[in-house]
């Protein structure tokens, strides 16, 4: 009932009506990388990392927000798609500080993980860095917006899963920033519920908990290729 058949990477697969390309892919064990997507929540479509090739479409389409249709022919890992994803990662790193070696996110950083997966080398598209002072006054959250890649997960998650809305987007273009209040640092008086949701979802080291000694990092070892 409501089954839709389509072709993904040459194989015939099926999904149910209303599913997105990404959902069908994941159900079939195909890993399409994402950075802004959050399962069960309205797609954001901002990072563009999940783009795939759909036959008949001039552009690549965002798989996290495009519903499947009967007879779709999709390539999720064609050379064209992989090159675009590589450039997108490079663009995210273009204004990201080179502080991985001392960054709290370390080998739990999704941006690094995706970069490693896609074998991204030195970024070709270096731009000026987006510098913001560290916000470390609050006892539950430290924000280092210089590391933010504007995926908006924290904005969406806080609003949807916690019913609160700590953060919003402000400014536009390259100046865009996830802000708190009237673009103030998260101060010591902010009594967010310390639920950790946004911190655990941040794909970089932009959001973290204040350091507690003895804390251990969990995550797979990242091998640097080359």
């Amino acid at each position: 009932m409501g089954d839709i058949t389509l072709t993904m990477n040459g194989a015939a697969i099926s999904g149910r009506e209303g599913m997105t390309i990404l959902e069908v892919a994941r159900e079939n064990g195909i890993d399409i990388p994402t950075l802004c997507y959050l399962k069960e929540l309205t797609p954001i479509g901002a990072c563009r990392l999940c783009v795939v090739e759909v036959e008949g479409s001039r552009m690549l389409v965002g798989s996290c927000h495009t519903p499947i249709a009967p007879g779709m022919v999709i390539q999720t890992h064609s050379p064209k798609v992989l090159e675009v994803r590589r450039v997108l990662i490079e663009l995210m790193m273009a204004s990201h500080p080179d502080s991985c070696i001392v960054c709290e996110a370390a080998n739990c950083c999704e941006l690094r993980m995706r970069a490693t997966d896609l074998e991204v080398g030195l970024p070709r598209f270096r731009t000026r860095l987006r510098y913001f002072p560290l916000e470390d006054e609050n006892s539950n959250i430290i924000r280092d917006m210089s590391k933010c890649i504007l995926c908006r997960r924290c904005v969406t998650a806080c609003y949807n899963t916690e019913g609160k809305k700590m953060f919003s987007l402000a400014y536009r273009g390259f100046e865009s920033k996830v802000i708190y209040d009237l673009d103030k640092p998260v101060g010591s008086d902010e009594t967010c519920r310390d639920c950790d949701t946004c911190i655990s979802l941040c794909p970089t080291g932009a959001l973290r908990q204040p350091i507690k000694f003895g804390q251990r990092k969990k995550g797979p070892v990242l091998y640097v290729k080359g």
Partner: protein
């Protein structure tokens, strides 16, 4: 309190309310944004997010008259830079600034759709086209 309740109903559209306030007050004071957020039951960051997105919305008090001169290509080709320099000399402040007496704010803007009269500018809601350095002083004279 009752005043706040009375205005509550009209506050259903952030941008519209910001525009109305700017038209009345000249800019968007922080206290106003906080009040608007309260009445809409949205975080103030949402209100500031909208306010900071649009280039015609000001979160700091501008001068009594806002000069918006076009810096886009059609005006640039007609020597718009000379006009920009002339205004700068005339009012004594650089683009992006307000004169110390609060008479003028001076802003560079993207294409304002007056390319057939390039170089062109807007002062408040008024159009000034086919500008030459010689015309600037008398135009500015009209704005006190």
């Amino acid at each position: 309190m009752s005043k706040k309740d009375a205005t509550k109903k009209t506050f259903d559209n952030i941008l519209l309310t910001l525009e109305e306030t700017q038209e009345k007050v000249g800019y968007l004071p922080a206290e106003f944004m906080v009040e608007l957020a309260d009445s809409l039951d949205v975080p103030v960051s949402d209100v500031y997010g909208v306010a900071s997105f649009y280039s015609f919305l000001a979160t700091r008090p501008p001068g009594r008259n806002v000069i918006r001169i076009c810096k886009s290509l059609p005006c640039h080709l007609k020597d718009g830079q000379t006009i920009i320099d002339t205004i700068e000399k005339e009012i004594g402040v650089k683009p992006g600034r307000t004169t110390p007496d609060g008479r003028f704010s001076f802003e560079l803007t993207n294409c304002i759709g007056l390319c057939d009269g390039a170089p062109a500018m807007l002062i408040n809601h008024n159009v000034h086209v086919d500008l030459t350095p010689g015309k600037i002083a008398s135009i500015l004279d009209k704005y006190k």
